[in-house]
């Protein structure tokens, strides 16, 4: 759980790096713009989460799944992300299954993915 309030915000440095990579070289980003983009990204996480959990509830399920997230994108009218996101999910699944077949102990592997490093 979140112990400090900062834990509920995405790190500004990382958000800024993503922004820089999406813009042409040499574009400066003001401090206020960085803060605004980082805040927007953090709120977006909650927005998507809430849209996805609504779908889970509507289906009378308990567990949030990948397809729920994809469906949520349509509900909040971000359909344009569904294509690239589906593609990314396929790559992700392949990477996960490649790792599983490589390492045999499936159960432990699955747990390992769940345990994400704290930075």
């Amino acid at each position: 759980m979140a112990e400090k309030l900062e834990d509920l915000n995405l790190p500004m440095s990382v958000v800024t790096r993503i922004v820089k990579e999406s813009l042409p070289d040499g574009v400066a980003i003001s401090k206020e713009a960085r803060t605004g983009l980082a805040k927007a990204a953090s709120v977006f996480v909650l927005y998507v989460t809430s849209a996805a959990t609504n779908i889970v509830k509507n289906h009378k399920r308990k567990t949030l799944t990948g397809p729920d997230v994809l469906e949520a994108m349509k509900d909040i009218e971000f359909d344009r992300f569904v294509g690239p996101l589906t593609e990314a999910l396929e790559n992700y699944k392949q990477a996960v299954s490649a790792r599983k077949s490589g390492a045999g102990k499936k159960k432990e592997e699955a747990e390992e993915i769940e345990t994400i490093e704290e930075d």
Binding site: M1, L10, S22, S30, A41, S50, E109
Partner: protein, 131 residues
């Protein structure tokens, strides 16, 4: 280091995204697949927002107002209107209110002179007043 990090194409820390997701009252556990997707789509969202804001820039500096402009003009970004309000000066705010009054717009009670600079007045219309 986690295994997930080494072969994923993500920038944002999964742990932080997970913490934010779990702060939602309806979420108990977050599995690796939905966590990956939410993280990935958040990065797409940031890229998209930045690229659209970039179209508004005149010189070489991406500024807050360029982002606020995108947010205010796109209805699908309604959820951000209070997070990234358009900022205006007190003088612009007074002019805006005067125009509203002239139109006979009674959408909200006219605020008193003394309190009109409070941001709480402006945020309801997606505007934050700066001095």
């Amino acid at each position: 280091m986690s295994v997930a990090k080494s072969e994923k194409d993500l920038h944002l820390p999964l742990s932080r995204v997970k913490t934010i997701m779990k702060s939602s009252p309806d979420v108990d556990a977050v599995g690796p697949e939905p966590l990956y997707l939410v993280t990935k789509v958040t990065e797409m969202f940031v890229t998209d927002l930045a690229k659209r804001a970039y179209k508004n820039i005149k010189g070489n500096m991406l500024e807050y107002k360029h982002i606020a402009e995108v947010v205010q003009e796109d209805d699908t970004l309604d959820f951000l209107r209070e997070i990234v309000p358009r900022k205006i000066t007190v003088r612009e705010y007074k002019e805006l209110m005067a125009r509203k009054a002239a139109r006979g717009d009674r959408s909200d009670e006219s605020s008193e002179e003394s309190s009109e600079a409070e941001s709480s007045d402006g945020s309801s219309s997606g505007v934050e007043i700066i001095e």
